[in-house]
């Protein structure tokens, strides 16, 4: 009996390993560094490891289309683009997270307890959020390049577990925050069970756990179709849960509202890129040959998701919940890129993910600025007249809303246009119609917020716009500039994506 030493291709895995290394250093800092210097050293380690990871990723961008770690990871053009998007979004998110106002003093303390009171008096600040972020980012980086089901599951858990914790770290309204964290965890565990179940069925169908092995079985057509069907359905439940597609969306509004806003922004932007990256890969590479079986169901889910997200968002009174439903609607739009199953669909999806991620992060960054003495103000009625008091802040938020609505001269327009034209080219006219109609409905509530900010009288109840810290300013400036530039001159990025966006099989 002989053993083969596994060949890992460290250069391909370097970004993930660097981020994990940074996370471990972060854990050590948490354990040993003096409290006073913890925050600055954590911030430094986190940003440094993300930037180095991005550099390492850029260094290997021309070695695309190789499989690494014994075939459990496929690094290709699409993977490169998705990982780069995740890292960029993560860096900008860390800037927001660094604004420590939003985090609890002692995450383990029971809300309202003596312990919490002491920790607040001692002016403690949690810093474990930094290593948690890095662990989540490592999982997100692995998720879209996994090419077997076990790695995919490990990556899913790796990105989910830190997020469950991070959702519960809010400084204000801690009960709500902890409730949302627990809900997210319970439902996430539930959907993971479905996911695992799906893996079992697919293994039963093809006697393989690799994407290429399962694809070969589908092409060969020798297995038991009931297993395949159940496998696709259950895996889909797990993945659609992560992106918040209807009817697996129910956690989204509660968690978006309860989690600290910086974490919500990170979650909404980066998780979406990672999860859609994985969905794109598994549907484009593995399930493409069985498309006649899953496509109608997925079309239906996409349509319901867009319409549901847009319609329910109208009746929201809370800006974070509104953005949550808006993200549900966007998940529906993105699903039409998955269903297109074409190169243009892939390119459009990747562009959309990046543009949407950046705009979402920016929007949540602005939300962190609107506060009163009790913390952030998320009640939309109290945002009225904001444009008169803080024209710049309101204008930037309006820009992000216009991007979500897909108004020309913003990145959102280019994204929607390309993803809908990809859906149309692939013959899914029903998706196109539903997409355009729900975009119109969605435009209603985005523009309603703009009207509220600029054309209504302001309320005098202590709501004010805080002066953002330098880091938050950086995030808002970059995200709004990117949103605008991608709307006016998107050609370079579109061409860049077009040269890279392929999946290795």
């Amino acid at each position: 009996m002989t053993f083969e030493a596994p060949v890992l291709h460290y250069s391909i895995l370097a970004p993930i390993l660097i981020v994990l290394g940074g996370a471990l250093v972060g854990v050590l800092i948490e354990a040993f560094a003096p409290r006073a210097s913890r925050r600055s050293s954590q911030l430094f380690v986190t940003v440094a490891s993300l930037v180095i990871a991005l550099a390492a990723l850029l260094r290997v961008r021309n070695q695309v289309s190789v499989s690494a770690a014994m075939g459990s990871v496929s690094f290709d053009g699409a993977g490169f683009l998705l990982q780069a998007s995740i890292l960029i979004i993560a860096i900008l998110s860390v800037f927001l997270i660094a604004d420590q106002e939003n985090f609890t003093a002692l995450a383990a303390a029971v809300p309202g307890s003596e312990e919490e009171r002491h920790s607040l008096q001692a002016d403690l600040r949690v810093t474990e959020v930094y290593p948690l972020t890095l662990f989540a980012v490592a999982g997100m980086l692995l998720f879209p390049i996994s090419s077997d089901l076990i790695t995919l599951f490990v990556a899913l858990e790796m990105l989910s577990l830190p997020l469950y914790l991070m959702a519960g770290l809010s400084r204000r309204r801690r009960l709500m925050s902890q409730e949302s964290a627990l809900k997210y965890f319970l439902l996430g565990a539930f959907s993971s069970a479905f996911f695992l179940f799906g893996i079992a069925y697919l293994y039963g169908y093809s006697a393989s756990i690799t994407f290429s092995g399962i694809q070969a079985s589908i092409v060969g057509g020798s297995g038991n179709d009931v297993f395949l069907l159940l496998g696709i359905a259950f895996i889909s439940v797990g993945l659609l849960f992560k992106v918040g597609a209807v009817p697996f969306h129910a956690w989204t509004p509660d968690v978006y509202q309860g989690a600290p806003t910086a974490v919500t922004g990170f979650m909404a932007a980066a998780t979406k890129v990672a999860a859609f990256g994985a969905i794109l890969r598994i549907y484009y590479v593995t399930f493409a040959n069985a498309q006649w079986q899953w496509k109608p169901a997925l079309v239906l889910i996409a349509i319901i998701t867009m319409v549901f997200g847009s319609v329910v968002a109208i009746s929201q009174r809370d800006v974070k919940r509104m953005l949550a439903y808006s993200s549900i609607a966007h998940a529906g739009f993105l699903l039409s890129g998955v269903i297109a199953l074409s190169k243009s669909g892939l390119e459009a999806s990747i562009f959309y993910l990046f543009a949407y991620g950046i705009a979402t992060l920016g929007a949540f960054a602005v939300v962190t600025l609107i506060r009163d003495s009790a913390g952030e103000v998320t009640d939309l009625n109290r945002w009225s007249g904001l444009g008169k008091r803080s024209p710049l802040t309101a204008s930037v938020f309006a820009l992000f809303l216009l991007a979500f609505a897909g108004i020309p001269l913003t990145s959102g327009f280019i994204g929607k246009f390309s993803i809908f034209s990809a859906a149309y080219e692939s013959g899914n006219t029903s998706l196109l119609i539903a997409g355009v109609l729900s975009s119109a409905i969605a435009a209603f509530f985005y523009i309603r917020v703009i009207v509220l900010m600029f054309f209504k009288d302001s309320v005098e109840d202590g709501t004010s716009v805080v002066i953002p810290s330098a880091l938050t300013t950086t995030t808002i400036a970059i995200t709004s500039a990117v949103t605008l530039i991608l709307g006016i001159y998107p050609a370079p990025l579109i061409n860049f994506i077009a040269t890279f966006a392929t999946f290795v099989r």
Partner: protein, 630 residues
């Protein structure tokens, strides 16, 4: 075609100045006006350099181009942002930057007490840049950008003192009326693209040989609409009088010397279209003839010195449009009158500004009189401009106006006689109302209040006036010596064919024109110099004078024919919009809101019901895939 890399500096310099002054804000208050003036002057320097380069090249290589960047590249529609400097545009470049620089210098002093002087200079530089783009663009689309740019600058400058509601309204009126003309230009561009497939000057010129007459006529008429808007020609003339609300240097630069002549430039630049579309060309002369009479008649009744000059501008541009409508025989004369007019009218406006400066911003000529003694330099420079505009030899206006009258007579047949007589009559009326301005302001008895102390303006103000006065004296002679300007422009506007049949000999025309001038001057002197003038305009005047004072009822006409029906239509549309469209939208909105509220109830907040939802979703998903597979 020779290409160049330095044309862009002509535009870039003033544009840069405008950007600096606007972005630096109050920080540049101290030096902003100097920077703006210096940049305008450097642009003039670049223009002179280009002229010297152009003169050094043989005739067929004089036009040069510069491609800036590929602007629009969609399917078969390709437009480069490109510049074209040829014999026609260099005339404009030098006029714009030359007169523009003088007016910058004048404004340093004129606006010195205004706390927003820096902003004023920023807008002036913006105007210079936009106007240069207008005359340098190598396609109708590039011209359009400049066209809109000068419209913006004009709007900003007319309303510069927008703290007075009347001034703000005046700028709005100018803007709205210009939009009507601008629509003509955009239609012309659309027709050109739809029928000829190109919008560049060279492309359209080439295509005009083979294009259908209907298309060319359509383009021509639309270009004429554009020209009437920008150049305040009938029937879109009503805004120019109100535009005098702007500071006087603005009236001199934009609303006398340069921007309002853009329509003439457009027609002369599009000579290949009008030569191939006689109907459109005929409309051009009709518009020109009507406007020259219209402006002249309004000019006779105005007591506001700036409005009298504005009416005169309208009338003189009428002459230019008339000349431009006479085809290859008239293009060069139209441009010549445009250039000489640029000198003498700008000079007179600056003179009017100088008078207002000395008279506490009084503009009513009935409150002037005998200012000759107090403002000798203003009197002299204004007087030279006056002699030029009424067409006394050897001043500039004599040469240019005479040439147009002569060409009009030679247009042939009844048309020639009608046009020629109109132009001649116009010359007589011009002599009358300009003498009236001159007499009321400078030579008649004092009619001002005792607390006014008229005084001469400072050097920075009278120096530009003096330079412009020299231009008013000499340019006519220079342009006509050896047919200099006619030959210079020939490569652009076509050879100037000598008329075979001449209705009236040039000598006869000149004699008739001089006679007309003498009659006009004589009547004015008898009426205003030799008899007393009332301080307040008398009300028991003839019906004719009354309507002339009201600009020949132009506003009442516009109100009755366009505004009132337009308002009614708008009101109806608003009602329809509110009842039908908004009703439907609100219905959908209410429905969506209702649906949203109902669906919102699924969000119970209980993890167990969310889990149940996931379970149901999974079952439905399996069922869905199952059904499809079977």
């Amino acid at each position: 075609m020779v290409t160049s890399t330095s044309l862009v500096y002509l535009i870039a310099l003033p544009l840069f100045g405008s950007a600096i002054l606007l972005l630096a804000g109050r920080r540049s208050d101290k030096w902003g006006h100097l920077l703006a003036t210096a940049l305008s002057a450097s642009s003039f320097g670049v223009g002179l350099y280009q002229l010297s380069q152009m003169l050094a090249r043989p005739t067929e290589e004089r036009a040069i181009t510069q491609k800036l960047f590929s602007w629009i590249n969609v399917g078969t529609f390709n437009v480069d942002a490109g510049l074209l400097l040829d014999q026609l545009s260099i005339c404009f470049v030098l006029l714009i930057t030359g007169v523009g620089t003088l007016i910058h210098i004048y404004s340093i002093s004129y606006m010195s007490h205004d706390e927003n002087r820096r902003r004023f200079f920023a807008f002036l530089n913006l105007f210079i840049a936009a106007m240069l783009l207008l005359v340098l663009g190598d396609s109708y689309l590039n011209l359009y950008v400049g066209w809109e740019g000068v419209g913006l600058a004009s709007y900003l400058l007319i309303g510069f003192w927008n703290q007075k509601p009347a001034y703000a309204t005046a700028s709005k009126k100018a803007f709205v009326m210009n939009r009507v003309g601008d629509m003509g230009l955009s239609f012309a561009i659309m027709i050109a693209f739809a029928t000829l497939g190109t919008v560049s000057f060279s492309g359209v010129q080439e295509a005009s040989h083979t294009a259908s007459k209907a298309a060319l006529t359509g383009i021509g008429i639309m270009l004429l609409v554009a020209a009437t808007g920008k150049s305040a020609q009938f029937p879109l003339q009503a805004w120019l009088g109100d535009a005098m609300a702007g500071p006087t240097p603005v009236s001199a630069l934009i609303h006398a010397a340069t921007m309002v002549t853009a329509g003439v430039y457009l027609i002369v630049r599009s000579n290949f279209i009008f030569d191939a579309a006689p109907t459109a060309q005929l409309l051009v002369v009709i518009v020109g003839a009507i406007t020259l009479m219209f402006g002249a008649l309004v000019g006779t009744a105005k007591d506001d010195i700036k409005k009298a000059l504005a009416a005169s501008t309208m009338s003189q541009i009428g002459y230019m449009v008339l000349g431009a409508g006479l085809g290859p025989a008239g293009y060069a004369f139209a441009i010549m009158h445009l250039l000489t007019h640029g000198f003498f009218k700008a000079g007179m406006f600056l003179g009017a500004g100088s008078v207002m400066h000395g008279m506490n911003d009084q503009v009513d000529m009935r409150r002037y009189g005998a200012l000759r003694k107090f403002m000798p330099i203003t009197f002299a420079t204004f007087g030279l401009g006056y002699l030029a505009i009424i067409g006394v030899p050897p001043f500039a206006g004599f040469y240019s106006k005479d040439a147009i009258i002569e060409t009009a007579f030679n247009a042939g047949g009844v048309k020639g006689i009608l046009l020629g007589s109109t132009a001649l009559l116009g010359a007589a009326i011009t002599a009358f109302y300009m003498t009236r301005v001159m007499v009321l302001t400078f030579t008649s008895k004092e009619r001002w209040e005792d607390d006014q102390h008229p005084h001469e303006s400072p050097l920075l103000m009278w120096l530009p006036m003096a330079i412009l006065a020299i231009g008013s004296v000499t340019t006519g002679f220079l342009f006509t010596r050896g047919h200099a300007l006619v030959n210079w422009l020939a490569p652009v506007v076509g050879e100037h064919a000598e008329d075979e049949k001449v209705l009236l000999q040039p000598v006869v025309v000149s004699a008739l024109a001089l006679l007309a001038v003498v009659i006009g001057v004589a009547i004015a002197i008898r009426k205003y110099q030799l008899s007393d003038v009332e301080k307040v305009a008398p009300q028991n005047v003839s019906f004719f004078t009354r309507i002339a004072r009201k600009d020949l009822m132009q506003d009442s006409f516009n109100e009755a024919v366009f505004m009132k029906p337009g308002q009614t239509l708008t009101a109806l549309l608003v009602q329809g919009d509110e009842k039908v469209v908004d009703g439907a939208v609100r219905g959908v909105g209410t429905m969506a809101l209702g649906a949203g509220s109902a669906l919102r109830k699924t969000q119970t907040g209980f993890a167990r019901s969310y889990a149940a939802l996931i379970l149901i979703g999974a079952i439905v998903l399996i069922a869905g895939i199952w059904v499809v597979t079977q």
